[in-house]
């Protein structure tokens, strides 16, 4: 009996807080994506002509560790019986990736870069939950930022 009560309480807590975290996170993601949309990402190893000279390059990265909630784990467990889309995990991974990209863009913007090339993603499950299910995932995004070199004004004699 006590076991069932604990389970239901955990499920309710997981659902309440989990949904709240997710909604506020998505709000902040959408807001910041709008803010940072001017900083282009070009998914190419070949440097486009406008950036091939007069630029300095440096590596930028962004990472985040996001945890599932109890409710999501429970739903995913149920899904394992019947198969099909596991929507709670889809949104979790989507949030993690988009947050990683945003952090990378923020780092690039802070140093005045105008474009990021060749972005790579990396995903890792770093903490195992119950019965070896996914507990927390780390998303990493990295790329090369191009920073225009400020040229000194030419003094005419």
């Amino acid at each position: 009996m006590l076991g069932i009560i604990t389970f239901l309480v955990l499920l309710a807590l997981g659902y309440g807080f989990g949904q709240w975290f997710e909604r506020s996170h998505y709000r902040s993601i959408l807001e910041r994506e709008q803010e940072l949309k001017d900083l282009l990402i070009i998914q190419s190893k070949i440097i486009p002509p406008p950036f091939s000279s007069g630029h300095e390059t440096f590596l930028v990265d962004g990472s985040v560790v996001i945890s599932v909630d109890y409710f999501k784990q429970f739903v995913a467990g149920l899904r394992n019986f019947v198969g099909g889309r596991v929507t709670p995990y889809e949104t979790l991974l989507d949030r993690a990736r988009r947050e990683a990209i945003l952090r990378m863009k923020e780092e690039a913007k802070a140093s005045g870069a105008d474009v990021i090339l060749n972005v790579k993603y990396e995903m890792c499950s770093i903490y195992k939950g119950r019965r070896n299910s996914i507990g927390s995932v780390e998303a990493l995004a990295y790329g090369t930022a191009f920073l225009p070199i400020k040229t000194m004004p030419v003094v005419e004699r």
């Binding site: 440096f58 945890s67 927390s136 780390e138």
Partner: protein, 103 residues
Amino acid sequence: MISNLELIPGKRISKHLGLVQGSTVRSKHVGRDFMAGLKNIFGGELKGYTELLQDAREEAVARMVEQASSIGANAVLNVRFSTSSITSGAAELFAYGSAVVME
């Protein structure tokens, strides 16, 4: 200079020096593991882990750069990162790239 492209604009590669790598294995202390357990009920970001992995990744890059400069390179190109969880308590962060001499 570190880049994950295969060249750096306006510079020429004068010599290739082969693969360089750096890695570090980090584990989390009990307090943080406890917090992670709690967060697994409520969901949300694990700020402690984010910072820990970020620090560890910087160290892996620093080791890679150290190896590159010890063989006389001044840039590492085509850098890749990889993270793997070894046990549930520790993660390995790994960075590798191609060491080159730039003009």
